[in-house]
């Protein structure tokens, strides 16, 4: 008896669709085991999480609030990933976007008419994130520095810079020692849906998704991105400039994450303070992958994962369970999704007698 792993002859479409669903189910099962070990009833816990995330107007509102930065960062990351540029720096790009928007809100508010304040902050947030993403892009394009390392390292720079600013030079003089900048003037507050905390950032996300969808499907630029992502050698052969595309894509990718930062400070906290860099940029990577790098998939998965986070917060209160449970579940989902991808390409069989059935062989061109 032995286990044989053999390559499938056709990439199974139905399996590819079922994999994310099966992964979530398996992850929930794995999480259930963990919960049981921690002394909690898994089904009660999951129900509490689900209700906490989607069980009422307040819950849904909070879920959407967390979903917005996940959507924007997820969209940004997904575009970069499409081109095989591994942007791990969404967290830092979000942070500098927040810094730039804060700067405009605090120091230019009296120089710009109120109606232009928010647009200026949007531009500032986008540009800051774009520049932050451009540095690793230029390093990769010119001397081939691995972008995983550069984007990751720049996260630390940005995160610490944020802290430096709101503890130091930008600290609210009337803050009673509470770490954070002064509150933004009203004109710098993103409008919200009445009765909720859902802010205009949601519209940014939807517009961004639409933009990306149109670019990828209908423009020359989108075509080049797809070709580079699917076969960089053929792209070079066809005269597509990989350097130009790395730069353009990272401007978009970093810019969207920067926009996420801007929308967080302008829509939620109305100041630069602790709680901006809580890992949205990293979670966005999971969002992008689970969403299969498709803009609408990213939006949907962002809502689901946000639900997971909010649900996790809920059970911390109602069931005295660590909120880390939600993070563990998120990690488990990603783990199972990546592992599940294996099954779309390979299948596992039990072979009864050694030599009783044909050896697994891949069929290819030239195999006569």
């Amino acid at each position: 008896m032995r286990l044989v792993i053999e390559k499938r002859l056709e990439y199974s479409r139905s399996i590819a669709f079922l994999v994310p669903i099966a992964s979530v189910i398996l992850a929930l099962l794995a999480g259930a085991v963990l919960l049981a070990l921690a002394g909690a009833n898994p089904w009660v816990t999951y129900k509490a999480m689900a209700l906490g995330a989607f069980g009422g107007k307040y819950s849904i509102s909070e879920t959407m609030v967390k979903a917005i930065p996940l959507m924007l960062c997820g969209l940004g990351v997904s575009v970069a990933f499409r081109m095989l540029f591994w942007n791990i720096g969404a967290e830092g790009q979000l942070a500098v976007g927040g810094i730039a928007a804060t700067g405009v809100a605090l120091f230019w508010a009296d120089r710009i008419p109120d109606t232009l304040l928010l647009p200026a902050m949007v531009v500032a947030g986008f540009v800051a994130g774009a520049l932050w993403g451009l540095i690793p892009a230029l390093l990769k394009a010119s001397v081939g520095v691995n972008e995983i390392i550069t984007t990751l390292m720049m996260n630390y720079i940005a995160i610490l810079w944020v802290e430096h600013l709101f503890y130091g030079p930008w600290k609210d003089p009337q803050g009673y020692g509470f770490p954070g900048t002064a509150q933004f003037p009203r004109a710098a507050w993103l409008p919200r849906l009445p009765g909720t905390r859902i802010h205009l950032g949601l519209a940014f996300a939807v517009v961004a998704a639409l933009f990306i969808w149109i670019v990828l499907r209908r423009t020359k630029w989108g075509y080049e991105i797809r070709v580079i992502g699917e076969n960089p050698r053929a792209a070079a052969y066809a005269g597509i400039s990989i350097v130009r595309n790395i730069i353009l894509v990272m401007i978009l990718s970093g810019g969207l994450a920067g926009l996420a930062g801007m929308s967080e400070v302008a829509g939620i906290s109305h100041r630069l303070q602790k709680g901006l860099t809580v890992g949205y940029g990293y979670t966005a990577i999971i969002v992008a992958w689970l969403g299969r790098l498709n803009p609408w998939g990213v939006l949907m998965v962002a809502i689901l994962l946000a639900g997971l986070l909010v649900g996790g917060d809920q059970i911390q209160i109602t069931m005295q369970l660590p909120a880390a449970v939600a993070l563990v579940l998120q990690g488990a989902i990603l783990f199972f999704v990546l592992g599940g991808g294996l099954f779309a390409q390979y299948r596992i069989r039990l072979e009864r007698r050694p030599g009783s059935s044909p050896h697994p062989e891949p069929l290819g061109e030239g195999e006569a």
């Binding site: 423009t219 020359k220 075509y223 076969n231 050698r233 005269g239 030599g355 030239g366």
Partner: protein, 511 residues
Amino acid sequence: MSTDTPLVKMQGITKRFPGVLANDNIDLEVRAGQVHALLGENGAGKTTLMNILSGLYRADAGEIYIRGQRVHLQSPRDAIDLGIGMVHQHFMLVEPQTVAENVILGLKTPRFFLDMARIEREIAGFSKQYGLQVDPRARIWQLSVGEQQRVEILKMLYRGVDLLIMDEPTAVLTPQEVDELFVTLRRMADEGKAVIFISHKLDEVMAISDQVTVLRSGKVVATVDTSQTTKEELARMMVGREVLFRVEKKPVEPGEVVLEVHNLQTLNDKGLPALKGVSFTIRQGEILGIAGVAGNGQRELAEVVTGLRKATNGRVLIAGCELTNCSPRRVIRERVSHVPEDRLGMGLVPNLAVSDNVILKSYRDPPLARGPFLDRRSIRRFAARLIKAFNIITPSQETPVKLLSGGNLQRTILAREISIGPRLMVAVHPTRGLDVGATESVRNLLLKQREDGAAILLISEDLDELLTLSDRIAVMYEGRIMGIVDVEEADVGEIGLMMAGTEVQTLNFKV
């Protein structure tokens, strides 16, 4: 010299893979002292059948008899123990080790102490007996491809095989090396061994074999004595219809000079000189064939001309325009098309649709693009037109290109490259791995381009193809052109010598 009981008898062999019946009830008999050719197009089932015989695969049905005894082969080791060995197309040699070390690789004896001197003597003995000249102390990386193949054969002889299976052995050999191989195979047959020779090359099959079994779509079409058949008949059996051997090559008056290459030098991927000063010109309506064993700079030449590799010295001019070291995009704009050797790795984007692939060179401009946007309707019309005109067999325009067969992949590439209306076409091994039908259509497409006034740089390892299609042939060896001859006056022997590095004083050195 043959005996009554066949050395090997395969009866009713059937082998199924998901989606395809690779071998359908095949019967095959090979006698000692015989060179038996297994002929068929790609996908006919030849390699599968031999993989079953050599123990690599197991048949779903059927029996194998060796010297009259029924056998069950569980692995290649069983096959070798019974005297059957296979030399594959891609050699399985350890480059840093010596010939002798490779020959004894995997053998149960000697167990612990190596008496290399004795082993080397034994190898030398086989070498002499079968005309397989090679130094047992040489390291594999030092040997030519032909010599490496000899090592593979020696491996089998050392293991005492009586039946040697050779899978497409001549793909990597110069004409002289092919002749030497045939001498060896003949000698082996005379000594009482049997040889199965897998090939799709009709001339070689006619030259070397005693019997031919023709496979088509997994079935045996016929087994005939070579002396009783002709190339045309074999081709008809292989393909199932009449095959034209003479392609329609009309006389074309060469026009203006399109491509000029002056003293081109460049490095290969390892940083060593790949081109050491190559010069030639090609005119409109002319095909210049580049002959030579793979690895002598042909690939680098194609890459420099198409802008994919930097030249360290020398010039490339297209229609008088200096294009040395210009980007591929610039070269494409000058209407230079490139049919690359690596179809799925470079010439196509496997996961994208057929329609996405055919626009790869022309998506930037109208009518396929409008400003920054792609005009999807124009693209659909364009793709439909190309699919029809070039006979690309695909379920739909949107099918990912990786699902197409080899012939259709090449047709897709050619459709795209021809659709830009090229002034110069660089075609690298355009018919490699294609069956007879696809090869015929690719060659006719190239000739049509020639008639329409394109200049073609044709790089091929198939000397027959070069002789059929080219107007002039340049032979490359170690980064230099050894000579350029008019195809009318070409002498295959001379070309073979040039391919192997001998400078031949030809009277027709036309640059």
